[in-house]
């Protein structure tokens, strides 16, 4: 048992040292992001209060509705933690950087597994736990529950999350035992991402907003029996819901019974996992360390990028890096997972646009114009993930570029070209399909598509520029690049740029709506020329300034 405490102690030391070693900027960043996160949680709280308030107010079935929503929320949380646990477990249990060392140390396998399982449970559930927190606060507030309600919930919520994560941990243990190969991780990553994407799309397609719309109440009443029935009765999400319901009605016997199920279930499942780990963990771990032979042959043909660039007489070195980036991007299974999630995001985005209750053509066209800002935000977020880190992702192989007879401008152009066309395609899909679903008129549709094309071009240019301005070649994963000071500054500048773009276009758009509403001579051509000029100047500045500054930084780069 002493070995287990030593393992936990190293975590405490790591945490303590990482807190002590933070500099002023790191603390500032942490406090800023902490406050931003808190603001989001407060926003969520008020949103939940509003929804639950409405549901509780529905005559006869109000309380049933709010408990039904609670059961569905907990079920979703449990599913998400289970899937997240599976993805996290594949990394923490089999590919953590410290495992090779720990596996060779005299630490009993079961303790090592338990240590890594606790890490998995924490990392797969803490964000979801944070999001549930305002919901439970809102529920307690609406139902006027005493403070002890939150204690009961907190006491049961921790083993509830542990049970969700245990599902992923157990499944990864079984899968790696039966298929001990590094390929198993890739397959699990893709299927888990697919499952995430499906859950996300299905939640949205189930149209939860119907529960709070008056015109849907008749339907809800018809399904009174459905509301009274348990939601996934054999899953811990329903046990927790029942315990909370029993607590509010003062049924302590039921509370203890459900608590016993949750806490006892968690203890039993983890004991079972630890026992199983003693027999199966090492086999899976050993398999995960073995390389997989690819056997693709030498394949010495020039890539299609190289052939294309040669035909068009374009710079050869750019095509060489383009070809390399395409191969390395699509061979990384994590990118496939992210592409699946982006597809889900696009589907949900377009579905939400279709569901907007807009009555008049003018309103539809107006929303279509505002949609530029929202689609732009999505593009900026994706650029933060894919374009901004592109230069830093050259990583420790940066010496190849740095010692080759190439200039920084070529590398930056290549990174821009690699990102810009897929991003423009995505921007056009988001805005073009939204316009079609909204039934926006031709003028607004044309303006919004042209604007989003301009915005994606500029945002990608900014992404590459900021990426060069704040290079980080020696990081373990891409999240460290995104969450760096440079990433934060890029996002802030991108949002500022989008706000200015919409603001500059607002004047001419207003004139257009005035004409539609019958105002005589609404067009002020001087103002329009000024707006177009400002827009072009804004884009030129946003595109070139970070690029030029970034190029200088990269040319003089001497290490992190």
């Amino acid at each position: 048992m002493r070995a287990f405490w030593i393992l936990l102690y190293r975590r405490w030391l790591s945490l303590k040292n990482s807190l002590v070693s933070q500099d002023f900027w790191a603390w500032t960043k942490k406090i800023f992001f902490g406050l931003a996160g808190l603001a989001i949680l407060v926003g969520l709280y008020f949103g939940f209060v509003r929804v639950l308030n409405y549901l509780e107010g529905v005559s006869l079935i109000g309380s049933l509705l709010s408990w039904k929503l609670t059961a569905m929320t907990l079920l979703t949380t449990f599913s998400m933690v289970a899937i997240s646990g599976l993805i996290t477990a594949m990394t923490t249990l089999y590919y953590s950087y410290d495992l090779r060392f720990l596996m060779s140390a005299p630490v009993p396998t079961r303790f090592l597994f338990l240590d890594k399982s606790l890490e998995t449970a924490f990392y797969s559930s803490w964000t979801l736990a944070l999001v549930i927190f305002p919901y439970i606060l809102a529920l307690g507030n609406i139902k006027s529950l005493p403070f002890s309600f939150y204690f009961v919930f907190s006491g049961l919520f921790v083993p509830f999350l542990a049970l969700g994560a245990a599902f992923g941990i157990g499944l990864s243990l079984a899968l790696m035992y039966f298929f001990p190969s590094s390929k198993t991780r890739d397959v699990i990553w893709i299927f888990s991402s697919l499952a995430f994407a499906c859950v996300y799309v299905l939640i949205r397609y189930s149209q939860p907003e119907k529960l709070i719309r008056p015109d849907a109440l008749e339907v809800v009443a018809d399904y009174l029996n459905y509301l009274q029935a348990p939601t996934a009765a054999y899953l811990p999400s329903w046990w927790l819901t029942k315990a909370l319901m029993a607590y509010t009605s003062g049924n302590w016997a039921m509370v203890w019974r459900q608590a016993g199920l949750i806490v006892g279930g968690a203890v039993f499942v983890y004991l079972l996992l630890v026992w199983a780990a003693g027999r199966f963990y090492v086999t899976g771990f050993s398999g995960s360390q073995e390389g997989v032979r690819w056997e693709r042959g030498l394949q010495l043909r020039p890539s299609w990028e190289q052939r294309g660039f040669k035909c068009l007489n374009l710079p050869r070195e750019i095509s060489v890096f383009l070809s390399k980036d395409r191969k390395t991007f699509f061979r990384d299974v994590k990118h496939w997972s992210q592409l699946l999630l982006i597809m889900a995001l696009v589907l949900v985005y377009l579905f939400s646009i279709r569901q907007l209750p807009l009555e008049t053509p003018d309103l539809k066209s107006f929303v279509s114009f505002l949609n530029i800002g929202i689609a732009g935000f999505v593009i900026a977020a994706l650029s933060l993930r894919f374009t901004f880190p592109a230069i830093s992702l050259e990583g420790k192989s940066y010496w190849i570029f740095k010692s080759a007879p190439l200039n920084v401008r070529s590398l930056m152009r290549e990174k821009f070209l690699f990102s810009v066309f897929p991003t423009m395609f995505l921007g056009t899909v988001l805005v073009g399909f939204s316009n079609h679903l909204l039934g926006a008129d031709v003028f607004i549709s044309s303006v919004s598509v042209a604007t989003i094309l301009l915005c994606t071009w500029t945002l990608c240019g900014m992404g590459v520029g900021f990426g060069a301005l704040f290079p980080r070649f020696h990081v373990e994963n891409v999240h460290q690049i995104e969450s760096s000071a440079g990433g934060f500054l890029y996002m802030a500048c991108a949002l500022g740029y989008l706000t200015l773009t919409v603001a500059v276009e607002a004047g001419p758009i207003r004139m257009y709506f005035m004409e539609r509403m019958g105002r005589a001579h609404p067009w002020n051509w001087n103002w329009i020329i000024f707006c177009v000029g400002t827009l072009l100047l804004l884009n030129a500045a946003a595109f070139y300034v970070p690029g030029v500054l970034g190029r200088r930084v990269l040319e003089n780069y001497e290490g992190d």
């Binding site: 997989v292 056997e295 394949q299 010495l300 050869r316 390395t328 990583g395 420790k396 080759a404 003089n556």
Partner: protein, 250 residues
Amino acid sequence: MIKTENLTKRFGRLVAVDRLSLEVAPGEIFGFLGPNGAGKTTTVKMLTGILRPTSGRAWVGGHDVVAETLEVKKRLALVPDEPFVYPKLTGAEFLRFMADLYQIPWETQKKKIPELLEMFELLDWGGELLESYSHGMRQKLVLAGVLLREPKILILDEPMVGLDPKSARMVKEIFKTLSRRGATLFMCTHILEIAEKLCHRVGIMIQGRLIALGTVQELQRQAAQEDRNLEDIFLSLTGGHEYSALLKNL
């Protein structure tokens, strides 16, 4: 071929390389020795255009490393101390990538890539992703990438680390052949035996300063240890015998 004049690099208050002046002739294999943190890799990085000198100048192939960086890079080939390569490319794709970067004609690539893979016993692995290569295999691949270009100037930072004895022997022979053909080799190494047997001249650096320069015989005379090998000379010049007292306590 390689010349430095008062080449200096500072990182804040630390002087990593202090007024280094040396000249390496065409066809010469020059061994650059020194304990960890002496400034060898910093010198390599300045010669290859990865770092800019704080002061002083350096020329590679007659071109200034700061003013004519691209010309310098066209002429030299670097083998870094750690063979970091793109893990999601195959061995053959990596060699093609390197060849394309240095504009090697397609017909030459088609002929030489399989030859080099075979020479380094990597032909069976040519279609495998580099993430499955061992350290030594990656090192051999980087060396193959360098030889593909038939460079006139090679800067080698610990080129033998991770190589099996057979490959190490072959690489030594390759270096000798290149030298006979007139190529300049500037090699940092910790393996003193290799430096002694392979290098025409060696330089010993400590705390950023070049403290000894010459052939092994000249260094023997400098250290007044005529009958000793390079390891003894190195340890006497760099103070490496201080650990003997500590060893007794083990």
